[in-house]
């Protein structure tokens, strides 16, 4: 009888863990992507600005400095000038980080929380349920997004939704945005179901529930997380577009989208008023986009690197 200790170990096998964690690998790959790391730092500093806005901003974002006046250029007291109602632009920009980041991140979270269960349910249940759910997504898909958002925000505006108009915007955007993610979740899970390791698990006798939770779901989530990360910039962008259309966060709350829209009205006299918030939006969007790219490259070892 040969004792285990005397059998030489093959050289390629790592001496440490039996199970190479997908997530740890991913983290390592992610950290090697410099663009993504810088983007994370950018987002973190924005988050800090959002949390400590009250301390960082030189003025109260709603304070009207009538002595200086409206749409005045930059001065010592107002580094970026004043807006159309005599308020300090820099302070509003800093405070706007709060709303814009919340809209972006919370929409992504909401979409995730809605889409994953529905997509998973569709993938795992009977054909009938799957069909029904998919037709339901078709229905949501067939709705003109803007109509849904406008009508929803109007219907909800009358009721006292906690969080006010910001919450309403988040709700409205996520309600039209969850469909693609749900479809993706479903597609991914269906794909994973065909993989050998699942068949192996089934062969061993693992229950369907266990397979779903420990195998299918984690392995499907890679592309899903990436897609959800991209929802953040899309939501921030949507807030700006909605402000232009006239469905924004209620004043006097400072939001980048609202500032771009107000700046647009004054674009001939004070063009920089558009540039500041638009730049903020662009930088944030690009940061999240690069993070999403980094995540995708990190989570799928076969995916192409870069960009």
């Amino acid at each position: 009888m040969v004792r285990a200790a005397t059998i030489p170990r093959p050289r390629e096998v790592e001496p440490q863990a039996e199970q190479r964690s997908l997530w740890r690998d991913a983290l390592r790959r992610f950290l090697r992507n410099r663009l993504a790391v810088v983007s994370i730092l950018v987002v973190l500093s924005l988050a800090v600005a959002a949390v400590f806005a009250g301390q960082i901003a030189p003025h109260d974002p709603s304070a009207q400095d009538c002595a200086t006046g409206a749409l005045r250029g930059s001065s010592a007291d107002h580094l970026l000038g004043t807006d159309a109602t005599c308020r300090d632009v820099l302070s509003r920009l800093i405070h706007g980080t709060r709303v814009s980041l919340s809209v972006g991140v919370l929409t992504a979270v909401a979409v995730f929380l809605v889409a994953v269960p529905i997509g998973a349910l569709a993938a795992l249940s009977t054909r009938l349920v799957d069909n029904l759910l998919m037709r339901f997504t078709d229905l949501t898909y067939a709705f003109p997004d803007l109509l849904m958002i406008i009508l929803l925000s109007r219907v909800l505006a009358d009721t006292a939704v906690p969080g006010g108009s910001v919450a309403i915007i988040i709700l409205a955007i996520s309600l039209v945005g969850w469909v693609t993610i749900a479809r993706l979740v479903r597609a991914q899970m269906l794909l994973q179901r065909e993989r050998e390791y699942v068949q192996a698990a089934e062969a061993i006798g693992a229950s369907r529930w266990r397979i779903a939770v420990t195998h299918l779901l984690p392995n499907s989530l890679g592309p899903v997380i990436v897609a959800v990360t991209f929802v953040v910039p899309q939501a921030i962008f949507a807030e700006a577009a909605l402000s232009f259309i006239g469905i924004g966060v209620t004043p006097p709350q400072a939001t980048w989208g609202g500032m771009v829209e107000a700046g647009y009205a004054a674009v001939y006299s004070v063009p920089m008023l558009v540039v500041y918030p638009a730049a903020a939006i662009a930088i944030t969007m690009m940061a999240f986009t690069f993070i999403g790219d980094g995540l995708r490259d990190a989570l799928d070892p076969r995916a192409v690197r870069g960009f």
Binding site: L35, A63, Q64, G69, T85, C86, T250, P251, P271
Partner: protein, 567 residues
């Protein structure tokens, strides 16, 4: 590392380039080019229009853009003298009065004699029957005319009965139409009987809803309520211009009416082209690029343009008879107390609002009647509601009332530009001067209308634009508790009643001023803020673009006078 950095350099470069380009936008100048005194060969003016008219059918038209076109294409019995605001003859050869027998002794019957030479675009004479049909249609319940109901249903004898016959069958409606006291004595004579003597009925007959209508044309393209008769090609004009083209959502082209019958008002222009552009910036860009001849200056741009010498020959401005104010809900706390109303009114810095937020466009006022309503306007009106933050704070802190006692108040407004900016400004003023928490409540226009007219608001941002130049137009609507917000004061009602019945002009001035005094000084029923101003840029080669305070759209009283000079 270098590759990584180069991506960011590129990004920064792109951003800077964009900034540079946008900054380039600031470099512009107006004027330039020689303008001679001769008329150009191409007599066509391109004027900015801020939106598609809802309908140019006189019975239905309500938006300013609709009224502008309607006014220039259709003729009414009388029209307004833009300088004095009085009624002057148009299709009627004289303004009816007691002296010329046009008004009966009891003041109830008006007789209009029509001009012999007034004809429609297709040559048919404009007859009294055309006006009878117009007024009957205006009050016909199937048409559901807003202005018909508002101004005419009560004053015309039999009108109220007709307007009330909703869902009645055709025979009944026909009966009621004929029972209404509007008839054609003969082809050239129209007789109208009203329910009570009025000093303003002639003014009402100068408004666009009373324009003559061609029954045959309307019925050819539909029925009484739904007809395509206002499309270009279907419409038969009676005014100085005819409808040549209507590209929905895009442009409206009016051409000189070759059969127009009034010598004085025959247009010099061949055509007036209205370009429909909702976006202010695009409109200004079009003007700068030479694609438009006349455009309104956006409020946010006024300071820059007014300071720019190259625009000085092109800038035109005139105060309008439009008052912007905010209204109170008199049935809700705290605005059921006059002290609260006064405090809120006194704590808004109107001067800054006009000079900074609106960059000088407008005139701050503390009266409901506009300064142009001479001699009824009283310069001393509203002294007590002028900007005085200390006094306002005192009112709020009086024993029995404290800051905290005021519940959060909603300031409702229609969410169209530029209301939001003004509301936000005022909200900031109340926070600063009174410490009160006011929430802006932006609503879509129909939702705002509903909230306002059902009394579902605390504060409402409102405006009133004059339809005809008389204090009755401004003050009657506050009487009888009819105004949303629940303002009701029998003293005020009585003052209005007396003023309306007063025949002596001098006495009438006194009485109307007394009514306004009760409204504003005593009751602070509403808080007037400012009077609007039309500020436009008009190219130097456009001669006689005459803006008046009564315009629905800039210059629309005098399009027939406007001409293009060679340039």
């Amino acid at each position: 590392m270098t590759l990584f950095l180069s991506r960011w350099y590129l990004g920064v470069a792109v951003l800077l380039a964009a900034v540079g380009v946008v900054a380039l936008a600031a470099c512009d100048g107006g004027g330039g080019g020689d303008v001679s005194d001769d008329l150009a060969a191409d007599q066509s003016v391109r004027i900015w229009l801020d939106g598609e008219p809802d309908s140019i059918d006189p019975s239905i038209a309500a938006f300013a853009t609709s009224v502008t076109v309607s006014k220039n294409v259709f003729a009414t019995l009388l029209r307004f003298d833009p300088d004095t605001g009085e009624a002057v003859p148009y299709v009627a050869s004289e303004v009816p009065s007691r002296e010329n027998g046009g008004i009966s002794d009891d003041g109830l019957t008006y007789t209009f004699e029509l001009r012999e030479d007034a004809v429609w675009e297709d040559g048919q004479p404009i007859q009294a029957q055309d006006f009878v049909y117009a007024i009957q249609r205006l009050l016909d319940p199937r048409v559901a005319s807003q202005y018909g109901n508002y101004y005419y249903s009560m004053i015309i004898e039999g009108g109220a009965d007709l307007a009330a016959a909703v869902d009645a069958d055709e025979a009944t409606i026909q009966q009621l139409r004929e029972a209404m006291r509007v008839r054609a004595v003969d082809d050239r004579t129209l007789e109208v009987t009203i329910t009570q003597p009025s000093t303003t009925f002639n003014l009402l007959m100068a408004l666009w809803p009373t324009a003559a209508l061609r029954q045959d044309v309307i019925e050819q393209h539909g029925d009484i309520a739904n007809s395509a008769w206002t499309e270009a090609g279907n419409l038969v004009a009676s005014g100085p211009f005819r409808l040549a083209e209507w590209n929905h959502g895009s442009s409206i082209v009016l051409e000189r009416n070759p059969n127009f019958w009034d010598e004085e008002m025959t247009p010099v222009l061949d055509s007036v082209v209205f370009q429909i552009i909702e976006d202010e910036n695009t409109a200004l860009s079009a003007y700068r690029a030479g694609d438009l001849d006349a455009v309104q200056v956006p409020a946010t741009d006024l300071r820059r343009i007014a300071a720019d010498d190259s625009y000085s020959d092109e800038l035109q401005r005139v105060p309008l008879a439009v008052t912007t104010a905010f209204g109170f809900n008199h049935t809700r706390s705290p605005f059921d107390q006059v002290e609260a109303r006064k405090a809120f009114c006194q704590s808004v810095d109107r001067a800054t609002l006009v000079n900074e937020v609106q960059q000088g466009a407008g005139v701050p006022v503390t009266s409901w009647l506009p300064p142009s309503l001479d001699p009824f306007f009283d310069a001393d009106r509203g002294q007590d509601i002028a900007f005085d933050p200390e006094s306002a704070l005192q009112l709020v802190l009086e024993p029995g009332s404290s800051r905290a006692a005021y519940p959060p108040v909603k300031f409702s407004y229609a969410n169209v530009d530029p209301n939001g900016t003004r509301v936000e400004f005022m909200q900031g003023q109340w926070t600063e001067h009174l410490g009160v928490d006011v929430q802006p409540d932006p609503l879509d226009p129909p939702a705002f209308e509903e909230a306002f007219f059902t009394g579902n608001f605390d504060l409402a941002f409102i405006g009133f634009g004059e339809d005809y130049h008389h204090p009755e137009n401004w003050l009657a609507l506050w009487a009888g508790g009819m105004m949303p917000g629940g303002y009701s004061n029998p003293e005020f009602d009585q003052a209005v009643e007396e003023a309306m019945n007063e025949t002596d002009p001098g006495e009438a001035v006194e009485l109307w001023q007394e009514a306004e005094r009760i409204l504003i000084d005593e009751d602070v029923a509403v808080c007037p803020l400012f009077v609007h101003e039309n500020v436009w840029l008009v190219k130097e080669y456009v001669r006689d673009f005459v803006m008046t305070g009564a315009d629905a759209h800039a210059g629309d009283f005098f399009y027939w006078k406007t001409a293009i000079l060679e340039h």
